[in-house]
Amino acid sequence: MNLLDPFFLEALVNGILLGGVFALPALGLNLVFGVVDVVWLCYAELVMVGMYAVWFLHTQAGWPLPLAFVACLPIVAALGMLLHLLVVRPLLTSPPINQVLATGGVLFVLQGAATLVFSTEFRSLGVDMPPMEVGEVFVSGTKLAAFCAALLGAAVLWAFLKFTYVGTAIRAIARDREVMPLMGVDPRRIYLIASAVGGALAGLAACLLVVQLDVHPFVGLSFGPITFMICVMGGLGNMLGGFLAAFLMGLIISVGGFWGTTEFSYVVAFAFFILVMFIRPKGLFAR
């Protein structure tokens, strides 16, 4: 095994960049779960809606791509708020299984709605950035840009949660949702804001994915299940844990695929997940 093999190094870089793809949805999903205590099973479908929004605004409405990206965030944030107001809030005191089934139902509603509006055709932005070539190592320009944007998004979220009053309230609610109302924090408002932020993160993830994948109503199948796995592995509700687990999973898939086969890499990833569940059932990075 030659660790300086340029192809191995390329696989390592690919793994880190792939982690960046998983990190943002994992972050958003964990934020919502940590604060509201409800798993949005339809999270990948919110990303899908965002991808369609970018595609539509850019290729059909003729908006410049950066403007379409900017518009995508509030669109999906609004969708996140709507999801909370219409589906999650009425079920906040219901058993968890009802909440899961309800957001699972929204998943099918969004897939069906996208099929009706956009048909089952695969849509593409048709944009690509030239690759970077460092020696024999090729790095996709598009994936690198997406990775940087994911890091930037995570940093902005961290700053928001750390340095703003609302962010502090969100963190406090995530720590103890029983006590915070006694301190004057309105949990209903915080839940709504967290849902909007979670939606905005799905919107940002959509901007990063729409340049890498074709858009179709079932695109969520490509990254949704693995995002949930990452969240559980990092510790549901643990934002930092989910963020780190995304990179760990990206590396396992990429390096496993390099040393074995693409299918083998997923066997290793799922075996590792099961192992983590045995050893640390609350997640790898649970405090």
Binding site: S119, Q212, D214, T262
Partner: protein, 444 residues
């Protein structure tokens, strides 16, 4: 919104409206023409109208069948009895396909179900049809494993099987290597990547077998899931192995994902061949990649518009012309996808050459009568709109139910059109290697 193709909304609306006209449950019907008298003849039509397979060819497959049924009814059906299609959506899921097939056979009481896009569905379905002694008429699913050594009596496949794909795409390189690539065939390095279902596995095994036959080295053979979010490591491994020719058997979105990541990952080769499914959606692929696809190849039964209709049997060219005109008018297509021709052709073969004689002979349409009629079909080469003839292998054959006269051709993309390049007798001279301006072309 829907510049090309048909949306699920259109399909369901058509099904609902026409179903009401027939006085049957709206969600289950897709009758495509007014009745002319006599009891309607009901057939099942099972395709994927939603899920990933819908955009990878299953919707054109349905649309082609729909045109065939409408035209057949307009021409009088079976002595005035119209055909009514009871359609069902497999949703790109094998379990849904099985449940829907059970519903069509059980609740709807049908004797025959046509369609089935995916081999991953055809494999579990075929055994069930055989056990229930009902006719399964496969219009698309191509994996050899669906029929190989099964000796089915009630499962028929008028279209090609996966072994034929590989025979074509490997033969092209074997025949042209010295002349066009300046290499002895034994020196041409091949790589095979494929989705891990029966379709991809069947095609890849056949490519490997054909490569072995010609003593051509396969430097990498690897499967992946069609819904994988990333193929960049596979691209890295391909780059390490430096294949001259890459063979892919994929649906979508894996095809576009691979092409995109291969381009950004610096993968270069002399030629790439797809094998039907997502590779046959040329309009869609060209819209995404444009001239980057120039010179790449694909194997599939020929879309009818690629053939010289004058050389087909009398009347068949006229039928093909009518079909293409109707399809283009209804679906606003430039170059019809192969699956549209497959849907029309294989449905037409059933209606005209199996259903009609069976009903005329017995007065009804039992599975037994249909089976006997199917085994009697004897259409010579040029007798269908896709150019091939039809003769089904008998039950004692290792490929029982397979059309032994089906033909797979290899095509090459040239400015958003596909042109036949193999067999040499049917097509034009292939252009190899990829043009130097292609981002995928190997720089020597």
């Amino acid at each position: 919104m829907e510049r090309n193709g048909t949306s699920r909304r259109t399909l369901l609306q058509a099904g609902a409206g026409l179903g009401l006209a027939a006085g049957v449950p709206a969600t289950a019907r897709a009758q495509t023409a007014p009745a002319r008298g006599g009891d309607p003849l009901r057939v099942g039509l099972l395709t994927d109208l939603s899920g990933p397979f819908a955009g990878a060819g299953s919707v054109p497959l349905f649309n082609g069948s729909e045109v065939a049924i409408a035209l057949f009814n307009e021409r009088g059906g079976v002595d005035g009895r119209p055909v009514v299609a009871v359609s069902a959506d497999s949703q790109s899921k094998a379990d849904v396909a099985i449940n829907e097939a059970e519903r069509l056979l059980g609740q709807e009481g049908l004797e025959v179900v046509m369609g089935v896009y995916s081999s991953a569905h055809a494999v579990p379905l075929s055994g069930r049809f055989e056990a229930q002694k009902k006719i399964m008429w496969i219009t698309s699913a191509i994996a050899t494993a669906v029929l190989k050594d099964k000796h089915f009596r009630y499962v028929f496949r008028p279209t090609v099987h996966s072994d034929q794909y590989a025979e074509g795409t490997v033969s092209v390189i074997h025949e042209q290597a010295q002349k066009k690539l300046g290499m002895a065939p034994e020196k041409v390095k091949l790589a095979v990547i494929y989705e891990d279902g029966p379709y991809g596995t069947g095609v890849s095994s056949a490519i490997e077998a054909n490569a072995k036959k010609f003593n051509m080295p396969v430097v990498l053979k690897e499967a992946y899931s069609a819904t994988t979010p990333d193929l960049s490591t596979l691209v890295t491994k391909l780059r390490r192995e430096r294949p001259d020719v890459v063979y892919q058997a994929g649906y979508n979105p894996d095809i576009t994902l691979f092409l995109r990541q291969a381009r950004s990952g610096g993968l270069r080769f002399r030629m790439l061949f797809g094998h039907g499914a997502g590779w046959s959606q040329i309009d869609r692929l060209w819209e995404t990649f444009g001239k980057d696809l120039q010179g790449m190849g694909n194997a599939d039964p020929a879309a009818t518009q690629m053939l010289d209709w004058e050389r087909l049997q009398p009347g068949v060219g006229e039928l093909a012309k009518t079909f293409v005109a109707r399809y283009q008018a209804k679906h606003k297509m430039n170059d019809l996808p192969t699956h549209a021709s497959m849907g029309f052709n294989n449905t037409w073969i059933f209606l005209e050459h199996v259903l009609k004689p069976a009903v005329r002979k017995t007065g009804g349409m039992t599975a037994e009568a249909l089976r006997e009629a199917a085994l009697q079909v004897d259409i010579p080469e040029g007798g269908t709109i896709q150019g091939y003839g039809v003769k089904f292998e008998p039950p004692e054959s290792s490929m029982a139910g397979q059309n032994s006269r089906s033909l797979c051709v290899v095509m090459q993309f040239d400015n958003a059109k596909s042109h036949v390049i193999w067999p040499a007798s049917l097509g034009r001279d292939p252009v190899l290697p990829l043009p130097p301006e292609s981002p995928y072309a190997l720089r020597s």
